[in-house]
Symmetry: C2
Subunit: 455 residues, 2 copies
């Protein structure tokens, strides 16, 4: 029986896509043309996937796993002859335990659906980002996704209690722990979270849920120095008692671009302050949350830590502020072609870093403009630059300055193929060698998502 | 040059203990006699330890790492001929960054000293447990220690941002990340946290600090059913807005033993309720914290979720309540010899589990008494039983019922030698095989802490 026939026997005809059904699909989230795989296998459950991997392993068949195709670092691009495994048929929310605040989901569940199921049970799944309508839980875990809730709840890793994965040889590791505390030997789930599908294929997960907030307060404030931006972050971290749920900083160039140059968004504050912060508190109370929020903001204004401020009076106003913050699309059109960076560094380095990148860019690539903003609460900086006709030269500037201060070339997006050349900017030779040792021990035939992260 | 001379050359005479200086030390925290190692090596820094490990690796020399010797599962017991590495000379707090809220410490720093340094900088290190005056950071990380702050801040793992380890062959992996977000390849630190010194020796760490609370509220409440215990936990998790910092449940048998049978502690509440909870809120405010705490408690009493309650009016009263909760010594003397268990399970299973263990024990070992209590906020149950003349038979009852409900034989203490026989009660054959694969790839000569966790 041919390899394809054997695949078909495992997953049935509904589980296997061939020929035009394969090439009709994209090869990656970044538009690298149509999918060149020899087949797309869509297992219905873990057992089928295990059998598929046993077959692929016996045949030295490379496998790339597809989730919602919303990654940004070429993390799932495949080569001709690869087999794609798609988790799209494993989309069952198996259980929501409203007492314990945990949910058990298959890897193909779309984030938005998992969020909705948690909400219905009176909880929240504290991972959220723009691609929520397509991104799948398996991809979210495999990339240790960040997003909008990190400052309060941490990355995806901190929402995962248990995991089931299929290894390269088809072995099923079912480590579906539901307890907050479990020190029985190595905590295997951490090996697979953020490994970008190179060590195993996530099939199911136990997710930790968090209490739903009862009210949300939003403000947009201006500050006259970077030091004050850092001081305010620390102050709110303490005064909001752990309820600070967003601390999004915009450098002047970002805000000015959005409300003046592009004239796309309402100028809630004058455009000549050096720094702006969109900040948010999630409260467990309706009225008291707002009262407390106002008190803290009044205090920091009185102390001149904050120079100017606007408090969102309605959820619509809050939405307008967030739309401005999230409108990467307008920037992408303005800077076309765009070079986008997702990096992190110690907060104490960030002000000088942005200055150096701006100066070096002006010096070496004077035609390239840039704006800076980020989830500062997490040390995460985004730089958008363009026109990026010389993408590599821009990377050299941005990452070249980063390596000097021990920053990370990826804060939340991962490495994939896109940042592979720059992994050594953030990780030592010994660290990368150790990653390879582990890869070799778990996937000695190098079948899982080949070539991603490192070669 | 002899092996010992070579060691001496690396660490100097102050760095090497031999003969009586070795046998004067205990072999473990549980009194297994004197240390039978051929030498205790006390490197002054990472480079010395790296050289020591290169030498040991070349000589196939097994190595056991000692921290503060406060573990409870025979995790560092060594055999004759082993070399002990003690981190006791690496006790420098290298840096506290009061802006970012991170500290960089060597592994030999005693927890209490790290806590004090964090406090001095206006922050808290959110790991705390009874052995704080002896336990060292390296051991705390290698066992992923739990303790009193887990319900709010998570285990030790969640306080570690970066790590430096020395591998079995002497390779130094310096992964001293200081950022909250860093998705640049595999997050290596997680492989070593909780690995009980079997994969590498922790030499330095970057720890995440948390804001200091400004006030603490403590109450001791009685509830008339287990369902209400779980409902109250969820309610406070939401109403305290993430500031619930302790939720310690005592079964009736535990409270009654402490205040009636032993007559050791003041009876703040009558002894005939089925469940008691010692609960605590850490607040970022002086007065408001208390006001809010009282409001929430009044509401849950009005709704008859809580039947009876006493609020600590002074910090001395709070301390008395905690002394009762923490007075394991009195129980140990009462049950002498004592069998102590640290287990976890889904909250929905816990009531029936304790009943089954109580019944089975009465049936099989009628002379054995027991009490149940735990960090219920974390799903962590402690059972103390005795007289434990038949330790193994008691273990069979406690773990035998646990395996049926997918519980963990170790919630926070680890496996060591003590629980090794029971690892398979909580982890599957495939999981254990994967642990061994990883051990084999990182320490193929099986030199690091041999025989711990699994054989």
């Amino acid at each position: 029986m041919s390899f394809i026939d054997q695949l078909q026997e495992i997953v049935g005809s509904n589980g296997l896509l061939l020929g035009e059904e394969v090439s009709a699909r994209p090869n990656a989230s970044k538009g690298r043309g149509s999918c060149p795989a020899k087949a797309i296998v869509r297992p219905a459950n873990t057992e089928e996937l295990s059998a598929v991997m046993k077959l692929c392993h016996a045949n030295d068949q490379p496998v790339v796993t597809h989730g919602g195709l919303t990654g940004t670092v070429d993390g799932i691009t495949c080569a001709e002859g690869d087999v794609v495994v798609s988790l799209e048929r494993m989309r069952s929310i198996q259980r929501v335990d409203a007492e314990a605040g945990v949910m058990v989901v298959e890897a193909g569940v779309v984030l938005e659906n998992a969020q909705a199921a948690a909400k219905e049970a009176g909880w929240q799944l504290a991972v959220d980002f723009g691609a929520r309508g397509s991104a799948q839980i398996g991809g979210m875990i495999s990339t240790n996704a960040g997003g909008n809730s990190v400052v309060r709840y941490g990355m995806t890793r901190e929402q995962v209690l248990g995991l089931e994965v299929v290894l390269a040889d088809g072995t099923v590791i079912s480590s579906m722990n539901e307890m907050l505390k479990n020190n029985t030997g190595y905590d295997l789930k951490h090996w697979f979270i953020g490994a970008e599908g190179t060590l195993g294929i996530v099939t199911r997960a136990v997710l930790r849920l968090r209490p739903q907030p009862k009210s949300v307060q939003t403000a947009f404030v201006a500050l006259d120095s970077y030091d004050k931006v850092v001081t305010l972050l620390r102050r709110l971290g303490s005064d909001f008692e752990g309820k600070l749920s967003a601390y999004e900083v915009m450098w002047n160039n970002h805000y000015r671009l959005m409300v003046e140059t592009l004239d796309k968004h309402q100028a809630f504050l004058p455009v000549d302050y050096p720094y702006y912060v969109l900040l948010e508190q999630e409260s467990g109370h309706e009225s008291k949350g707002e009262e407390h929020f106002m008190e803290v903001l009044s205090a920091v204004m009185e102390e001149e830590l904050v120079t100017d401020a606007v408090i969102a009076q309605t959820s619509q106003q809050a939405a307008q502020l967030w739309e401005m913050r999230d409108d990467v699309g307008s920037i992408a059109r303005h800077f076309k072609p765009l070079a986008a960076f997702d990096i992190s560094m110690p907060l104490s380095e960030m002000e000088a870093y942005v200055e150096r990148v701006t100066d070096t860019m002006a010096d070496k690539l004077p035609e390239v403009g840039l704006v800076a903003f980020g989830h500062l609460g997490d040390g995460n900086l985004h730089i958008l630059a363009g026109p990026a006709h010389e993408h590599r030269a821009i990377e050299e500037v941005v990452y070249g300055e980063l390596v000097k201060i021990g920053g990370a070339v990826s804060a939340e997006h991962g490495i994939g193929l896109e940042k592979k050349d720059f992994l050594s900017y953030s990780r030592s030779e010994q660290e990368i060698a150790l990653m390879k040792t582990i890869k070799q021990s778990l996937d000695p035939k190098q079948l899982l998502n080949p070539g991603k992260i490192f070669s």
